[in-house]
């Protein structure tokens, strides 16, 4: 049996999982604060735009979105299997295409800022 090619994705899954676990709760907390009227300073357009315009900001945003997209796509693929959706090849294709599109979009939007 040939070696698997799952490691290609697993690297980003693992890195993404680590990052998501560390920062996702606090990010959600931030938007939740914003949504309930306690808008944090960073969400001011000027401030956030300036952050996203700097190279560090761009990199940070890209890394978070990229890793999160791929790790969640990978996990969703498995979740589908666990729920009994056995067309693993197809599911994987769809999930990874979505993650790839999201990644490209991230780059495009960042470039526009």
């Amino acid at each position: 049996m040939a070696k698997s090619n799952k490691p290609i994705i697993w690297g980003t899954f693992a890195a993404g999982g680590e990052l998501v676990s560390l920062i996702m709760p606090v990010l959600i907390l931030l938007t939740l604060l914003a949504a309930t009227g306690h808008v944090p300073a960073i969400f001011g357009y000027e401030k956030l735009h300036a952050f996203a315009a700097g190279w560090f900001g761009k990199l940070a945003i890209f890394v978070v979105l990229f890793l999160s997209l791929w790790s969640q796509a990978h996990r969703l693929r498995i979740t589908c299997f666990d729920f009994g959706l056995r067309a693993d090849g197809l599911v994987a294709f769809v999930m990874y295409i979505l993650a790839a599109l999201g990644s490209v979009a991230t780059v495009v939007y960042l470039a526009r800022i």
Binding site: M1, A2, S4, K6, P7, W10, G11, A14
Partner: protein, 252 residues
């Protein structure tokens, strides 16, 4: 064992029975067994077999948690019958053969698949540095020993296979114990056979079938922590993949 202590507790055992010659499918049979609180479930079964129903079939030998033959589902959990102490259970105990394995008869399962997988991962030293015994031992420091020792503690009881849902869903999965065993040899300082074993375990049927449910480690009676072995194999295989494809001058 003084007999007056017997019947200190009356336990209802609900045992899944299956006789391939007379039964279409398995069904439960109930027994009321007088027990001593210090007993384990295996003691209760042995009492049952000697005194109530000699036709019950199950495997056991050592009665000391080391031979790995007495694995069964006890109240829904994969357990060693000789490690499941009655004091930890209510008065009704349900006993079934290990999940995910075909039932040969009563509590006896067909283990062929597991045994074949053990063999498949090449669980023996494939020496790196060749040496003959007359040249003395390979030096191995206590630190090097401790790196793999935990993974060498597996008693092949198959509880982890009964616990792992991915094995249940995909019986081709090489599974937790066999992959842990491969890992045990991979990280032994005397071994040089990792590449050969990777051909078996760095595959879709190998470690990549594992979704890190972690049930294997939760039920392992010997704290082998197969889930850890599998994650470590995944990490190493990922590094391998990138080295092989992007830095082929480093690896192969």
């Amino acid at each position: 064992m003084s007999d007056n202590r017997l019947a200190a507790r009356q336990i209802e055992l609900e045992v899944l029975r299956y006789n391939p010659e007379t039964d279409q499918e398995p069904k439960f049979q109930n027994y009321s067994v007088p027990c001593i609180n210090e007993w384990c479930v295996l003691d209760a079964l042995n009492y049952l077999k000697d005194n109530l129903d000699p036709t019950l079939a199950y495997r056991w030998s050592c009665h000391m948690q080391v031979c790995g033959s007495c694995g069964m589902m006890i109240n829904g959990e994969p357990k060693l019958a000789c490690k499941a102490m009655l004091r930890d259970y209510p008065d009704t105990i349900r006993i079934e053969p290990l999940n995910h394995f075909p039932i040969e008869r009563d509590l006896v399962t067909v283990a062929d698949d597991f045994i074949a997988k053990l063999k498949r991962v090449k669980p023996y030293i494939i020496p790196g540095e060749k040496r003959v015994p007359t040249e003395g031992e390979y030096k191995q420091t206590p630190a090097q020993l401790k790196r793999y020792r935990q993974f060498a503690m597996c008693i092949n009881c198959m509880l982890c296979y009964a616990a792992c849902p991915e094995y249940g869903l995909q019986p081709k999965f090489i599974g937790p114990a066999a992959i842990s065993l491969a890992h045990r040899y991979n990280i032994d300082s005397r071994d040089g056979g990792r590449d050969e074993r990777q051909e078996e375990i760095a595959t879709d049927e190998g470690v990549w079938e594992c979704t890190f449910v972690g049930a294997c480690s939760e039920v392992c009676p010997k704290h082998v922590d197969p889930a850890a072995a599998l994650q470590q194999v995944k990490a190493a295989s990922t590094v391998d993949w990138y080295l092989e494809h992007f830095m082929s001058w480093v690896k192969k």
